[in-house]
Amino acid sequence: MNWDAWLPVLVVASSLLPGLVIFFLSEGSHRLRTALNLAGAILKLVLVGILIWGVFHEHVYESRWTLAPGLELVLHADTLSVLFVTLSTVLWLVTTVYAIGYLEKAPHRSRFFGFFSLCVSATVGLALAGNLFTFVIFFELLTLVTYPLVAHRGTPEAVRGARIYLAYTLGGGMLLLIGTVWLHVLAGPTAFVEGGILSSLPAAYHPQLKIIFLLLIMGLGVKAALVPLHGWLPQAMVAPAPVSALLHAVAVVKAGAFGIVRVVYDVYGVNFTDQLGLLTGLGIAAAITIVYGSVMALFQDNLKKRLAYSTVSQVSYIALGTAILGPIGTIGGIVHLVHQGIMKITLFFTAGNYAETLGIHKISEMNGVGRRMPATTLAFSIAALGMIGVPPVAGFVSKWYLGLGALEAGMAAWVMPVLITSSVLNAAYFLPVLYRAWFREPGPAWPAEHIPAARFETSAALLWPPVITATLALAAGLFAAAPYSPLEWATLIAHREYGL
Amino acid sequence: MNTMGLLVFDGLLLFSIVGLAWASLATTDVRRGVILFMAFGLLLAVAWGRLLAPDVALAEAAIGAGLSGALLLAAVHRQPRPLSPGATHDSLYRSAAAVSMVVRWVVTLLSAALAGTLAWGLLHAFSSTPQDMLPRAIAENLAASGVSNPVTAVLLNFRAYDTLLELAVLLTSVLGIFSLGPATPGYQPAGPIFDGLVRWLVPVLILMAGYLLWVGAHAPGGAFQAGATLAAAGVVLRLAGRARIGLPEGFALRIVMTAGVSVFLLVGLTLLLLGRPFLGYPPAWAGALILLIETAAMLSIAATLLLAFLGGQPESTGVKAAANRQREEISRC
């Protein structure tokens, strides 16, 4: 069998098959379930390694399957998809370990891990999608498999939050579907080609293309939590911590941002989008979301809600990066896709640790938590500083490139103030938390101490994942220039997009 | 009968037919409506005779007016009190009195419009030259069909598949009736005069059924008319309060009920095995096969129509026709 055609399918299947098997496992078989999960994750990591090496050397991996005449399911590995696949695979491995620790005695674990693996398969499938049709299929599948995860706890709030999440995402999915069908009718099957394919269409179609662009961006914007469409994200925080960590920091939210990057670069082509005057609109929407998210985060006492609003603003940096014409801005946007993922997942892990170990849900309860759980709080601090953009953590790198890109593209007039205000706001809602955690005296007793302080401050499976991801965030910042680092890979993508 | 006389006859006949139909539907007393409907059916049979359709006239008289009338009268007789409108009224059509005039006018206009368009379409169809392709084809192939009566040829040879399905329809309706409950209680024994009439009438009916069956090959008649006459004999016996009305019991009853369809199917399939098309009788054997099928069909038509009149499986048979339906046991969750 030719390896090139089967590798992308294997990457998707490596989490799909264990997921389907886990569904039918009875609740009791922990070891088998854990083994299947970890085996799937490691196998995927190995396959992705091969993928990275192959794509770096201009090797083409593509598998096709026709669903109907003119409608093909295409999995094609190019530089941009590999970046997102690597991010998802690494973080999935870490989150699986974390989830095994987090759900120690919880019910319905077979169902949880089944849908968990399906969700990662959908994300990886979405990343590897070769044309807009396949992207839409995996986009809707992602909605379908994340609904049970958000509603996992079964409490009335969880079901209500899941229903709101569903209403938003299915509505967005319908807009995306209509836009894709319309584009399909105008321009035939739209494959993702670096530099975009729509510039060749006759000028008469331009008004229609503008409406289609609006539909696509609104459809994707729901998942990327652009301002008017972000309502579901804070509601979906009722989900268990590993779900919020992987889904709302990496899979779901990133899928929306990744979709915007795909549409702008590989369907319309960034120059053609600018020629249609759509880039500035996208930029303004992103800017509004950045500021709005940060402002709203200020007022949240619940730690996870604050992180949720911070996600809303941080994801729009990626949209801002795409809106900045020029390779440097693009690098800034794309590299932030990875950096934000690593930093935000650390924050959600640590929030999960606080809740699981000490029963802390509100920031007001975090006085002196640094003394009780030093390692977790250290990880929290690294990630928080990264979010603010303090070197050497990864966040600084992407903000630096965004600023540089704005200067180079002459859009500094309104991009720089946005970057500065949002960084200040980030500091405003993260630094007090750090101060309260490190320098305040702890209260008489923790709200609900589940796990006593034995050799480590909490169970191993809960402690090591945030520490690993914090070091990754640090490494991404320090060794940004190293080969195969996220920044290097983003530069490679930008060069191929702009054909340098 | 010169053309003027015919015209008068037609006019009179059609006027009374439409009059009876209107009267039967205008009255609110169901019993009166049913009786008028039976009269309407009989006049209709005369109309078919007038239009040179003797086979259909026989069937209309025996089945359309006769048996349908008997079924309807039995239903009216059993109806305890006027059906309270609440029971089966549709949310759209409340009891006749409460239906506002608007709805009546709308429905009347709607039906008039339907009749108008139907007439308009028909006149257009009649104006074009009558297509005689099919009658000519039947005339040519009549010799090979094994019977000389064209209607029987169409029913049992050219369009035999239709008749097979039609017998299946009859079987389905009886199975549906069986699943709805036991047969109706019988009637009290007949007085001497009625008993005498029955003693004379039933043998004549049976003889006529046999004749109709046989004559169907070359003159108006056939399985349906014969079956209906046989069923009529059974109905008369039932009305006379007789316990035994000639229906077999249990397994035998089921054999008779399915005789028509199974013989038809067996003949069709064996012909298929012999390399002929399905239901493609070899000309030499056609006559005999048609008679065989018609006999079986007559028996099952008579049995099914009689069981329909009885309203279910006669009690005395072995099958446990429980008095009221035992509810499905549904296990609790």
Binding site: E27, L67, H152, L170, V185 | H124, N141, R159, F278
Partner: protein, 478 residues
């Protein structure tokens, strides 16, 4: 291959007679006949795929004089779906009815219904279609009133009266056509029929009659009570197959026989009625208190989508675009067949296990019957039209056709309809998440839950992913 056609009619009919004559071994005979009929359907499908449209003259008489059976791409696919759905429902029914007398009464009527469906899909003669429609109507009514409860009998009675009205109108249309063109054979008629008063009236009458039987929007009042009160396997087949057979006839008449007579205005009227059905059906499904009513209203809505295709098929010039839209229509019809049958069977499991199917009190059941809930979820995915399901491809073609012909109303209606469908499906699925622990074994009643799971899986996964060869098959049909 033509023997497969005869087999498709003779086998279930012989099965019906056998189950009537041998009530004790009725279940075994019925399942055996079902398997044989499914094999025959498979043979026919492969025959049509290799040799193109098949044609068989019963009795050897040439078309017009005798009755011709026809099987093209469309009818072969519908026959295959009918066989699979009916077989799965038969396996389900063998476990659903627990008293011997019920089973003895159920099987003959069930196989007669199956005969009627096969005969209707194969028939190429107008009057023969009338007889098959009557056989279908009567057997469906007899099955619907099987439980003997008051609600079921009243609904079945109304269903019968509406069905009779529809058949009479259909017959009036047939008599008009016979008066005008002197033949009853569909193929001959499609060449002879020319626009004119008799053709328009005949089309109008026959279509009204069939719309009564398909329960299209204004004429749908009889469907929800009838389908909701019938036993589970019966309502599965009623919703998935019986109404669809009547739709198949409307399709056959409008696109084959009356192709030259049909005007875009008439097609738009059908489209509008379909749009009304989508919105009305989805809205009432959302308000439904009981699962079976929800599924019945969902049938009314899903049939509305199928009628939305008519204005598109009329407006698109015949060519690849039209074939794609026709393929989308058939894919949507097939997927709805499988999904709705799976949904009704799953609801039957819940109703039997709990004695009720009111949605509000579903919490306990949904968690204790994970396989059933999973079947409802899969069927729901197919009913909404979310990806891996065939309905996604069907709705894609519907949207593409709407965009291409610039008829934006259908696009908006489809979008709103799908979102409403998502609302009422997930209203049900919301109850599947609770804190009660799962039973160790996911499948509790194997013989009832596996058919539901397989049917729903067929709709949600198999049709969506392996639907490509179906389009090639359809070039032969519409």
């Amino acid at each position: 291959m033509t023997d497969a056609m005869i087999g498709l009619i003779a086998l279930p009919l012989a099965g019906a007679l056998a189950t009537l004559l041998l009530p004790r071994s009725a279940t075994a005979v019925a399942i055996g006949t079902g398997l044989a009929t499914t094999v025959a359907a498979g043979l026919l499908l492969s025959g049509v795929a290799t040799q193109g449209a098949l044609h068989y003259e019963i009795g050897g008489w040439s078309a017009g004089l005798g009755i011709a059976l026809r099987a093209d791409g469309l009818s072969a696919l519908l026959l295959m779906m009918t066989a699979l759905v009916a077989l799965a429902a038969s396996v389900y029914a063998s476990a659903y009815f627990n008293t011997a007398s019920e089973r003895a009464r159920f099987w003959p009527l069930w196989l007669l219904l199956w005969t009627a469906l096969n005969a209707l899909l194969l028939s190429g003669d107008l009057f023969n279609l009338y007889v098959t429609l009557e056989l279908l109507g009567l057997s469906a009514v007899a099955l619907a009133s099987l439980s003997g409860r008051r609600a079921a009998v009243a609904a079945a009675l109304r269903y019968l009266l509406v069905g009779l009205l529809g058949s009479m109108m259909f017959l009036a249309g047939v008599s008009l056509l016979y008066a005008g063109y002197g033949t009853l054979d569909l193929a001959a008629l499609s060449h002879m029929v020319a626009p004119g008063p008799s053709a328009w009236t005949a089309l109008a009458l026959m279509t009204t009659g069939l719309l009564l039987k398909t329960a299209l929007f204004p004429l749908h009042f009889w469907l929800p009570p009838a389908h909701a009160s019938a036993p589970a396997p019966v309502s599965a087949v009623l919703s998935a197959l019986v109404v669809k057979a009547a739709f198949y006839l409307v399709l056959r008449l409008w696109l084959d026989v009356f192709a030259t007579v049909v005007t875009p205005a008439a097609a738009n009227l059908l489209g509008l009625l379909g749009a009304g059905a989508v919105l009305w059906g989805s809205w009432h499904a959302l308000q439904a208190e009981r699962l079976k009513l929800l599924a019945a209203y969902s049938t009314v809505a899903q049939l509305g989508y199928l009628f939305l295709f008519f204005p598109l098929l009329l407006a698109l010039p015949s060519g690849p675009a039209r074939d794609l839209a026709a393929g989308g229509l058939v894919m949507l019809a097939l997927t709805h067949g499988f999904a709705k049958a799976g949904l009704f069977l799953a609801i039957g499991v819940i109703q039997q296990r709990c004695g009720h199917d009111t949605i509000r009190q579903l919490d306990g059941t949904a968690q204790r019957l994970p396989a059933t809930t999973f079947a409802i979820a899969l069927a729901g995915v197919a009913l909404i039209g979310l990806p891996p399901s065939g309905a996604f491809l069907g709705k894609w073609q519907l949207l593409a056709g709407a965009v291409e012909t610039g008829q934006w109303l259908w696009l908006v209606v489809t979008a709103v309809g799908s979102l409403l469908a998502a609302a009422y499906i997930f209203k049900v699925l919301g109850h599947a998440f609770g804190h009660r622990p799962y039973p160790n074994q996911p499948v509790t009643v194997a013989r009832e839950e596996w058919p539901a799971l397989l049917l729903a899986g067929m709709a949600a996964l198999v049709l969506g992913l392996s639907g490509a060869p179906m389009w090639k098959l359809l070039e032969l049909g519409i």
